[in-house]
Amino acid sequence: MDSIPVCNGKARASRLPAFGPWLGLLPFLLFALAFMLLPCGSILVGSFQDASGHFTFANIAHLGRASILSSFLVTIEVSAVTALGGTVLGFLLAYAITLGKLPKELRSMLLTFSGVASNFAGVPLAFAFIATMGRMGMVTFVLKSVFGINLYEAGFNLYSFWGLCLTYLYFQLPLMVLIITPSLDGARREWREASESLGASAFQYWRHVALPILMPSLLSSMILLFGNAFGAYATAYALTGGLLNLVPILIGAQIQGDVLHDPNLGYALALGMVAVMVLCIVAYQLLQRRSSRWIA
């Protein structure tokens, strides 16, 4: 990289200035700047501005308002419940098709279906649940007319918290199956056999060996599921039409009209959301590193 004269043209080509190769990256960097970084930056900046553009912490402070806190809380609750439910049930399903010795055809069937179902979300998913579990839905209807069980009189409501959770689970569960199946495939038969030959019971094997080994993957998958539900807008929008005060719904309403009577509060809301997601992704990466060390 110094000034030794070079006669060979080919060799000179490889001695472009240090930033030469970066030129090839320029189109992408410009795109990322314009459509990924700038929008984020503008929200970050907007969160710290008042209506006339002056710097302020007021928006951040307003996040502490009861109504906004409660909407964060309910969003976190929906995400946590569906992440936990998806993790536990998805794990059991994945276990059934990997270590549970079910026929191979069922395994590929479930994996294919999970690929579809985890992509089947948003408006059509909401419709499907309305048609099934809504007031007029098929399951509601069959339960009432055949079994005499009135779901809605029993307190169930599809357009409420638990209804939303049930609906979200439809993409959370298959997502978990897809994520955790490789980890379970990585759980070696020899671990179980070694533990058995050392005198451990099935319970002791799960308690001391299998669960601790799988824990990082389980946790990181759960975080992924949490973020997946936390950012979801379309499903909730189509299902509850804004009845539930989820943060994404609130931001959407803010975009379409100044429902908060303070445009900059909307930015703070979005910033709060990004903050939660950043926490998720950091925890996810840390856990991933650990589990990849254990399960080669």
Binding site: L25, G41, I97, F120, P124, L125, M136, V139, T235, I255
Partner: protein, 261 residues
């Protein structure tokens, strides 16, 4: 051992029940469009609606644009990084995580804030929508192409081609692309399935796309939305099926996880 398998069956059936009941329920529901009889009436009403065709074809066009522009932007960049600038890989990696950190609703909020006024008044141009869709589908395109690049020895292949006298164009079109057919196909179908029914960006940027159309139907009608749900499920199934068909026999090639919800 037998007990263990019994539990496996139990959980599998429970899962199958949860997955299949809504589909079956929705299908039956969609057949009740005509009072007193099961019929495909709701479906014919859907197809007869001129809005259906208009919005669907709009979203279809957006999907095509997103696919072409997204791959045109990503593929050369990734090949370049792979060959010449490996140290820039973390940047791409980070960008592929970004859509997870910034949910669509936040992304569109930021986009509107920047591009609704001068100096870049783009908000009324479909360009902004396509750009947003590229951001949303970037993780899937990135992962698919990355898997494809990693499955072949790109450096070895290009060096071999160079030493045989091939130029860059020949290398790209005769060697790299044919070897990446499968990954590119899965990127294409995944992007398509994300964009075709997308709601958040379309609704916020006020485009007459298929997602907002479906949402609107849901507000006013009962049986047509069920028919739409079944149709979209079949569409998703078809797209994922195409990906799995294209990538059959290739190990370690997973389909993309999750779309925009």
């Amino acid at each position: 051992m037998i007990k263990r398998r019994g539990w496996s069956w139990f959980w599998f059936f429970l899962g199958a029940l949860y997955f299949l009941v809504p589909l079956l329920g929705t299908f039956l529901f969609s057949l009740r469009g005509k009072r007193g009889a099961l019929s495909f009436f709701a479906y014919s009403r859907v197809f007869a609606d001129s809005q259906f065709l208009q919005t669907f074809s709009f979203s279809f066009k957006m999907a095509l644009l997103t696919i072409v522009a997204g791959i045109a932007l990503t593929l050369p960049t990734m090949i370049w990084v792979h060959l010449r600038l490996p140290k820039a890989k973390p940047i791409l990696e980070a960008c592929s995580l970004l859509p997870f950190v910034i949910p669509p609703i936040v992304l569109v909020f930021g986009l509107i804030r920047i591009y609704s006024g001068p100096p870049f008044a783009l908000a009324s141009s479909p360009l902004l929508l396509v750009a947003g869709y590229i951001v949303l589908s970037f993780p899937y395109i990135y992962r698919a192409i990355d898997a494809g690049l990693r499955s072949m020895d790109l450096r070895g292949l290009t060096e071999a081609a160079h030493s045989l006298g091939a130029g860059w164009g020949t290398i790209l079109f005769r060697i790299v692309l044919p070897n990446m057919r499968v990954s590119l196909l899965s990127a294409v179908f995944l992007t398509f399935s994300i964009v075709i029914g997308e709601l958040t960006l379309a609704v916020m940027l006020a485009w007459p796309a298929f997602g907002p159309y479906m949402a609107l139907m849901g507000r006013d009608l009962a049986y047509e939305p069920a028919a739409l749900a079944i149709l979209s499920f079949l569409l998703t199934w078809g797209l994922i099926g195409l990906i799995q068909f294209a990538s059959r026999g290739i190990t370690g090639h997973s389909t993309g996880l999750g779309g925009t919800h």
